[in-house]
Symmetry: C2
Subunit: 308 residues, 2 copies
Amino acid sequence: MSLMIVGSMAFDALETPFGKVDRIIGGSATYAAWAASNFTQPIKQVSIVGGDFPQDEMDALTARGVDMEGVEVVKDGKSFFWSGRYHMDMNTRDTLVTELNVLGQFNPQLPASYQDCEFLMLGNLAPAVQISVINQLQKRPKLIIMDTMNFWMEIALDELKQAISMVDVLMVNDSEARQLSGEFSLVKAAKKIQAMGPKFLIIKKGEHGALLFHGKQVFFAPALPLEEVFDPTGAGDTFAGGFIGHISRTKDISFENMKTGIIVGSAMASFCVEKFGPNRLKELKQEEIDARIDEFVELVNFDISIIS
Amino acid sequence: MSLMIVGSMAFDALETPFGKVDRIIGGSATYAAWAASNFTQPIKQVSIVGGDFPQDEMDALTARGVDMEGVEVVKDGKSFFWSGRYHMDMNTRDTLVTELNVLGQFNPQLPASYQDCEFLMLGNLAPAVQISVINQLQKRPKLIIMDTMNFWMEIALDELKQAISMVDVLMVNDSEARQLSGEFSLVKAAKKIQAMGPKFLIIKKGEHGALLFHGKQVFFAPALPLEEVFDPTGAGDTFAGGFIGHISRTKDISFENMKTGIIVGSAMASFCVEKFGPNRLKELKQEEIDARIDEFVELVNFDISIIS
């Protein structure tokens, strides 16, 4: 009974208005596992890396209760590499380099020990890979959450729609929700996307927070107003990891509990952006997480009894 | 003991992706008075209009408990006119025409009966006019809230800073907060602006909600996710009117009560955008306002007890 996370483990090179790093650990599954492991263990990791991926990074995840049996190491291959430059608003970025490397041949074969997974997070990957993972599971997980991006809407829309039809929760950002639905209004977009299959839709709006839609219900969580957003890379994957980590720990897939999961994810994302890469996530203490969640309560809590 | 509202009463011509109107009632004081009069009466209105301003619009406000003694009517003058075109995102707009007309000579002389005002809202106007109103009051109101815009930062920064130093609550949008402070981070901007005088700062972010800063405290209220934003004109003034209307009704200027005021303002703004001009505000029933505020509670309410 555990959480399975499927996604990339990679190197990133980043430029932000606050600094520059040439080669730092990244990848959707890396961020998600670091975030989720605060709430649930073991985590069954599914990814692919080259021989250049540092063993001590693998070991650090193992020490956090992340099972690496499903991480394929291509000894003579190179890990996925992405390089980008953020603009001042930190919500827009230019991709400078994308080298798929071993990720281009990613065709995961799930270990037998992964078959008992109860919760499944599909990080942003080729829709065909996401479909393949779902199809390999003999028993459907209690909840499948999937992330994707505009790139797949442009080059693999049919496969993407098939993948979307197979999951319970889809997570996209606001511009992707608009692109996928053809609707500018996020409320209208949410209706159309839910009609594609997922009963739950999370729309991430970066510094403007996140929305959770389910039928006619909607929940909003703000992002924490921060003095400095140092590096937004991985914030979305960290948000997803915090969300599904909370759901896995509580084993409660109600809308009410997902609302709390969105807050947990938002709190984890607010840590992620404080340092380059997943560094802030690695050093987090439980007391810091509790205090940050309390900040969210303060941020949105108001007294309705005064009104009427 | 009452609320005084100072601002423009005007005509607008508007184009949105959903339609077009050539000449409709507008102005910051108009929107604010319609919103605030749901919560507090009488309201002492201070404005200036030309002979072209419809008497039935004045009468409609009078019937809502808005005292028009402080509204100067320049019989042979024309009312302030603004014309604009909104883009698809409804957050950006082009000004097509600005005709100051009688607003260019606005030099309000407060009626004696206005001296007992307990709460003062200064809508967006020339800072010199805002300062003059404050200086005419023999007794300082319990709370002064002021709106402004980037235009005054560009042509009258010194006077604007003087006006800002005289008020308790400043209300600006996010880009104006950045321009005024020279800081991109809204948290840093809030610190700098509070150092200019106002103990409270409200930063409006349109469809992304609003932030209230006070010392180290911060509160966030989302905008209600809507299927359609028909016309955002006046939403900020309506928000301000709802906020100060709630404060005036409760006579409580604590941070806690201001949080509730922000929610009330957000609810009123969510009505404003549903139709052209102030039309939706004019027809509002108390039950609709209560139901809308309940929607905000649903939107942000989550159960923290699940987490730990």
